[in-house]
Symmetry: D2
Subunit: 375 residues, 4 copies
């Protein structure tokens, strides 16, 4: 049981890849926010299979329905239920999976945990599960428009295998990313990345890469000591995504090679605000946002499903072999971009609401004694 | 508010570095487990300042008291409260911090969040906060002895700056690590690492590095889809530690350069068990443990406190300068090792209890129909 | 936000009376439990409007769909989503409610809380919201069949206004209750209660009463000190139901008139078990079940909707009048019976799973030292 | 495990009656609230044994220490840990309890749940556990002074056995209650109640009664649909107290005898506010506060400890007898009054913070379109 995420903006997702539907309930959304199915659909379309010729050709329209929580296009403050029906189910493609565990998939571990699994498709471990997250994040972004009007989240493919994009996280725009089907932020890398994906796919193999995400215009003070630090919650959010193997923020693993005198971000007043001259911290100090950009990276391993014969074992515990079938992404990165963005939005809206609940001023400024005088 | 961690074995910590005490309440610990203050003290001593000549010489005895939850040395099933009083407080050392923000520390972000901070020391952002975690983990390890008798957690310094230890995670022993004061697993790296720390300290500078952790003898099926995956919870646990900037499991960021045919872990029967021939997954597939070793790495940035003058701003929002004072670690890695181990233990015991609650068999095997026949 | 209930068997409900659907997600259900839509439907039919001539004649078929969490009729351990589409919406009946607050309804308080409300029907405050609870409880009861095979929950109308049923909670059977449309446990009261309801309805008025619930065959030790006592969670569960104003367990309010020497339940061995000679405790001591029957009562106020003109105020904050319209229950008690039973089942299954998670033996009896020897 | 209560203002308590200490951690308290140990001590003194000659003469000074979360007398926003050391332990008085279960106490159920218990005293089931609640509530009331400046909580003894106090909940003052040692609101009942308690005590027997609580000046809209209704959370809070057997709000059980036309609270504008002409709802409609007074009652059974020989069973499962020893309250009501008040304060502060988090306006009024125009 862990189908819920978030403390104050709390989502609960459900759905196997080949059941009746996948979806999400959002609990704690503020009232009076305009919200329609179109608002949600636009993001679902960005994660949808079949959207370009470098992603899986599986046809899933993924049309959402808002079942509750709005009235005449406005949120009520009550739980918002969003559902996407499952279609295009060719469970015949999966017959062999009934009795054999796909390597580096969750078939074996689900069986080990629960004693059974929904073998017709990936079940709950399918990437289809992320539909609920993306739908919820579409709502989260609407709320963030009010709570943090300057906040913008841009994520993009930073690398595919050894192909590394050169992107300026300070300036890269959402439109830059969406303008190319591989969703990278470096125009020079678009074609090489596309070529690489097509080449690998033609061999029946798969590849991975890194998604980078920047959040600009972040209010200061978001994050909760000591366990729900903003970086801790982002790390959990990202590692909860299928196929992820790593998370780093700011200077990350490379930063471990620096000395403190090189690494520290010095403070400097700028236009009346406390700012830092560098951003090796990646926008967070002590687990709380410091007003600089949040910049983090997420590692995605190569897709486990490949079209070549691989050694494996059967549910009867015999050695055997299995060859991937069906229609799969040779590289999940282009479709991972909106999902990383979605998880970032969910973390941020939750922390923005938590901050308001606990730390909004108890008294108007005019009535407050100066705390610093007292201390 | 986020002083609690865990769902079924739930800890809640408290304490500023310069208040009355730091400590933890553990809720949900199984009854009938032998537990004394000595069991806890041994781990507190491993994280304690002043334990060797490469860590901060601050003298803190950190003697723990168990205030509740045991009776005649046995756990009652009720909340276990463990307290360590604060001592050795030289708040005079901190006077300048009252009015100046230390670069890359949490001084500014706490002020931005709460409108005030405990300026006499690091407050809640002090590494002293981890005492509660380590104390709770000492209890967790006692419980794991019963729930997963073969489980062992070994963590060690994998690198300090560019000094990389060569460690075999399959075989490295706890005693190997504890036998050297830098807590690395590579005998050849002990002296170079110690030298590097002393050299950096002599300059008033600081350095970071990477801690690697291996968990062997893990039961299969631990972790909860889809948000509380074992890797997601480990990532959160580690990024909630002070000074961490990254987490990776199994092949991690390097794995993003491989192809699926290279990366997949093929299954193979061995002694009647389903095993994998390689372990690029790092012991988790679909967010659930697969019985192979959990292997992950955590990046620690160089300590923010350095003894040289640095530009910063004052609480009055003026540009100024600040020089570090007091007694600090030039490199936190040796003391980070038991803390990483502690967080791993807390994640594992929580998931072991969750697994038992939901997924222990409802019927004896003899009465169960074969699920695979039904499906 | 508080659409979730339960710690280990956790339900999250959604739905307004006049939106797309109402439903529930159940998270934490054990795997391998047979479950079909028929299992759920039978309980939904017991709470359905239009089931007899003393309840509202509104036609709602309330047909459920299981959207996830089962595979070939068996639970997977993953979240179970159950949906009931809304039909028969005559929102025309509700036009006046757009601008006027119905007395003793939630119209005004929802507006005060959220700044708007779904005025076309009762919105989230409609009794229709309980569909998700009843559906979840149907699943809970399937699980309890395994976790506590002797457990049985029987609830019944104890009183309607001054008409008090004489029921022996030790022996009353589920079939006795379901055999009469008013769902009382006293055959002599069936006709008087039915007559009273019809008489009140003919005047356009409404009445309330008390539901009593007994749970027999309860395992000992369920309930969690100190806040999630079994009686505390039952009280919350019942007071979370629409129209409830009171809860008492065992001797309840009457017991406050007794002395301790009269009230105490003396222990006595019986067939090798520790039992009590009386049950004024109502099956719980120190918040934990003691193996005796849980017996509690829930007070339901008279339905707020009546067909006579009443003073009220408008959304423009003017005094005005309003007369109830539409098709409503003059007495909710017969339909409240399965809902009280449902909430009891949800509390019990949650505590049974929690108990197993924390307190299942860590060692086989044969390996355990005698705790009582140690203590 | 259930030592925590509250969602946004979350308390976690610990402590057996005869361990090292009892106490509480408060997580989520807003920063910048003045708070000293004196603020807490005054309420602890009101629940303390030995405060008058009708309560237990046990001497417990119950002196509190604030271990964290404040700095120079002001809350930091970080967890507040408050501890009270245990003293005056005469565990010799309890030797017989090691092997015999006290009737209507939690001795047997704790053994049944955990397989052992802290037999030297009541352990976690001791009323001493409420110290943490009262300490936390002292903090809660400080916060409520800011969040809801007009809010006042007054609780008092409504009845002891058949002695019923006549109290006007609209006007009764805190000082009226505290001015008499039995803490009732009816001057005429002070002496009779005191006499009754002394008489019963002289016989070695015990008695129970009802505490009534009124909360005036409540903001509208507090409470969370559908499970955390204000009445549901109050019910849980009260039933989580030792010795409670019932809860009712507003018209309660008596209200079930009325018709809807008698029971409904008609709305009426008054001084520009929406008010009700009667308050049978007890201040809550649809689970949300409507601005009228919250009025509820809590049933306390007679104390289980009496000084006469009673049949019981031994831990060896043999029939035996046991006579109460030690110093106990013959009537807990006078000391229950501040505890009921405490739990009410904890529920209210939690809901006030939750309300602010989710439902504080997203835009200034001037920028908001009129929602009612849109709908």
């Amino acid at each position: 049981m862990a189908s819920s995420f978030g403390h104050s903006f709390r989502i609960t997702t459900y759905g196997e890849s080949h059941g009746g539907a996948v979806g999400v309930i959002i609990d704690g959304c503020p009232p009076q926010v305009p919200l329609t199915e179109e608002d949600v659909q636009v993001d679902l379309d960005r994660r949808r299979p079949g959207q370009s010729d470098i992603v899986t050709p599986r046809k899933e329209e993924d049309t959402c329905q808002i079942l509750s929580g709005t009235f005449n296009g406005i949120t009520l403050g009550t739980p918002i239920s969003i559902m996407v029906k499952n279609k295009d189910q060719r469970s015949g493609s999966y017959d062999e999976m009934r009795t054999k565990y796909r390597p580096s998939h969750a078939d074996y571990t689900y069986d080990a945990k629960y004693g059974l699994r929904a073998w017709a498709g990936g079940g709950r471990a399918s990437a289809r599960e992320t539909i609920g997250r993306v739908a919820a994040a579409a709502v989260a972004k609407k709320v963030l428009n009010y709570l943090a009007p300057n906040l913008e989240i841009v994520s993009y493919v930073k690398s595919i295998q050894d192909l590394v994009a050169d992107v300026d996280s300070e300036t890269v725009q959402f439109e830059d990313i969406e303008s190319n089907i591989v969703r990278t932020g470096d125009p020079k890398m678009v074609e090489p990345m596309i070529e690489r994906i097509k080449e690998v796919r033609s061999k029946g193999d798969s590849i991975g890469g890194v998604v980078e995400c920047v959040v600009r215009g972040v209010p200061t003070g978001l994050g909760e000591p000591v366990f729900d630090k903003i970086d801790a919650d982002l790390a959990k959010a990202m590692l909860s995504l299928p196929a992820t193997k790593g998370f780093e923020i700011g200077s990350g693993f490379e930063g471990t090679k620096m000395s403190g005198s090189e690494h520290n971000d010095h403070f400097k007043m700028k236009d009346g605000s406390v700012r830092t001259l560098t951003n090796r911290s990646g926008g967070t100090q002590g687990g709380l946002t410091n007003g600089e950009n949040l910049v983090f990276r997420v590692a995605f391993k190569p897709t486990a499903t490949i079209m070549t014969e691989q050694p494996t074992v059967s549910t009867d515990k015999e050695d055997t072999e299995l060859k991937g079938r069906g229609r799969h992404d040779a590289c999940v990165l282009p479709r991972a971009v909106p999902i990383v963005e979605a998880m970032a939005a969910l973390v941020l809206v939750d922390h923005a609401l938590r901050q308001r609940g606990q730390n909004a001023p108890l008294l108007p400024d005019s009535l407050l004694p100066s705390i610093h005088d007292v201390l």
